[in-house]
């Protein structure tokens, strides 16, 4: 499902964010991406959802070569992708319902279908009673769940998450991880970036470890 070959990304001549990374993730896998702050986890995810262009190397998702993709195809590719951002990236002027409905509206789905899908997804993340609230009226954990609902609502082939449990207490982190496990059980391939070793210990899966922009460990339980 995800294939990365000799991938490198440099922002300046002497500062490489990612250096020569190669790995494969099979369809339906759940993989952690870990490492200390500044290891390159966020950069790798940005490359995978095409917010950045690699300096070298190749990457393919679902057979699509992302290093040779036009802007129009990037948009269509992102529609099969669910991304959960570290800073949520919610639209604060729109309600919870509108935020979650947004990707479906962009795909031109019918309003009846959008209503059903948004309600079902908000129920999965436990926010069906908050659909008319604005994001800033919610707690950090609830905002994170809205961001996850927005990523899940499109039934993504691949779910990428950047520190989805950052700044959350253990109980709320556990709830969030359960949402990703649920999405994985429904067929999504999950790549979850976290530096929280406790989560990995409680829910052991394959772990890719980055350090200084290099893949230093690829270990399965």
């Amino acid at each position: 499902m995800i294939q990365v070959f000799n991938l490198s990304k440099s922002y300046a001549r002497d500062s490489a964010a990612i250096t020569d990374i190669t790995f494969k993730i099979a369809k339906g896998d759940f993989v952690y991406l870990t490492g200390p702050s500044g290891a390159g986890k966020s950069t790798l995810l940005k490359l995978l959802y095409c917010a950045e262009q690699p300096s070298r190397g190749q990457m393919l998702i679902n057979g699509l070569n992302l290093t040779r993709i036009s802007p129009g195809r990037i948009a269509r590719f992102r529609r099969v992708l669910g991304v959960v951002f570290q800073d949520f990236k919610l639209l604060n002027s729109r309600s919870v319902y509108e935020n979650v409905a947004f990707p479906l509206e962009i795909q031109g789905r019918r309003s009846v279908e959008i209503r059903q899908k948004v309600y079902q997804t908000l129920k999965v993340v436990g926010l069906e009673h908050r659909l008319n609230r604005l994001p800033l009226e919610l707690s950090g954990g609830e905002q994170q769940r809205v961001a996850i609902a927005r990523a899940l609502v499109v039934d993504p082939l691949v779910l990428l998450a950047d520190e989805p449990t950052g700044n959350l207490d253990p109980e709320k982190s556990e709830q969030i991880i359960e949402l990703f496990r649920g999405a994985n059980a429904r067929g999504s391939t999950v790549l979850l970036a976290t530096h929280d070793r406790e989560i990995i210990r409680r829910h052991p899966r394959r772990v890719l470890t980055l350090e200084g922009g290099r893949l230093v460990d690829d270990r399965s339980p």
Partner: protein, 283 residues
């Protein structure tokens, strides 16, 4: 527009101010052209006759002149008529003519031209045709005045094109930058749209439509405010000024120009938003 009402109002206001200026300028040029059109009625050819012609000769001359395509009307002014006009023009000093007889002034043919020929070329063509008659040797057609008049009209038209162009360009610049500010204020929304799979076209279209709508509203506001200014100008005591310029009444924009202001607002909004969204795309 509900996303950033302040910037929407700013865009509409910018379009409205720019188009109000253009509407006022357009009305000003329109009135000047109307004034010039009225002044051009005075463009005529006068033939002074050495000897008053007989009835039959006069009829022949009048028929010949009236057949010319440049001619709207020809009037024979006899010696007594010329004398009377002169007396009236002297007013209280008419006593100066005491003891004089009408034959001191020549009879004349006053030729008024069709509107399309009230210019240097039209007058010259008619004068050349009429010169073939030796009795029409003394012909006056105010060539110097005509040249000055045509220069003024040319200058007026050139100024209207240059000033209109400058105003249009300045408006476009301001509108594009105001819409750019709108886009900048909504950059988070645009980023999220792109990240969840919106195509560049899908992202740009709402902003372009919004630009057109704001432009049309701005055009409507401009039309209303320029009409109110026109009514205010009419309510002032402008009769003296109007009589001095030869205009009977101050004109507002023609219906087609009014439509153009509103459509122009939409076009300005369209062009401004296109510039802004394509710059955003590059950024």
């Amino acid at each position: 527009m509900r996303q950033s009402p302040f910037l929407s109002v700013a865009t509409i206001t910018t379009v409205a101010v720019a188009l109000t200026l253009m509407a006022i300028f357009g009305a000003f040029v329109g009135n000047l052209q109307e004034m010039a059109r009225r002044w051009s009625r005075d463009v005529q050819v006068v033939i002074y006759l050495d000897q008053p012609p007989g009835q039959k000769t006069l009829r022949t001359w009048l028929d010949h002149i009236e057949r010319q395509p440049e001619v709207e009307r020809v009037t024979f002014v006899s010696q007594p008529e010329a004398f009377n006009r002169f007396r009236q023009r002297l007013g209280d000093d008419a006593d100066l003519l005491a003891g004089m007889t009408p034959d001191i002034l020549p009879a004349s043919l006053e030729i008024r031209l069709q509107e399309d020929f009230r210019n240097r070329q039209g007058v010259a063509t008619l004068a050349n045709t009429l010169r073939s008659n030796p009795a029409f040797a003394d012909m006056r057609h105010g060539q110097d005045w005509l040249e000055r008049f045509e220069s003024v009209i040319r200058l007026l038209r050139a100024s209207s094109v240059v000033l209109g162009g400058v105003l249009l360009f300045a408006s476009l610049f301001v509108v594009a930058n105001t819409i750019r500010l709108t886009l900048y204020a909504r950059r988070d929304e645009i980023e999220v749209m792109a990240l969840v799979g919106a195509t560049p076209f899908f992202i740009r279209v709402p902003f372009v439509l919004e630009g057109i709508m704001q432009g049309v509203i701005g055009g409507g506001v401009a039309l209303t405010s320029s009409y109110l200014l026109y009514r205010a100008a009419l309510s002032q005591d402008m009769a003296v000024w109007l009589r001095a310029t030869g205009l009977e009444q101050l004109l507002f924009l023609s219906p087609s120009a009014q439509v153009l202001i509103v459509v122009g607002g939409g076009a300005l909004g369209l062009a401004g938003s296109l510039i802004a969204v394509f710059r955003l795309g590059r950024a």
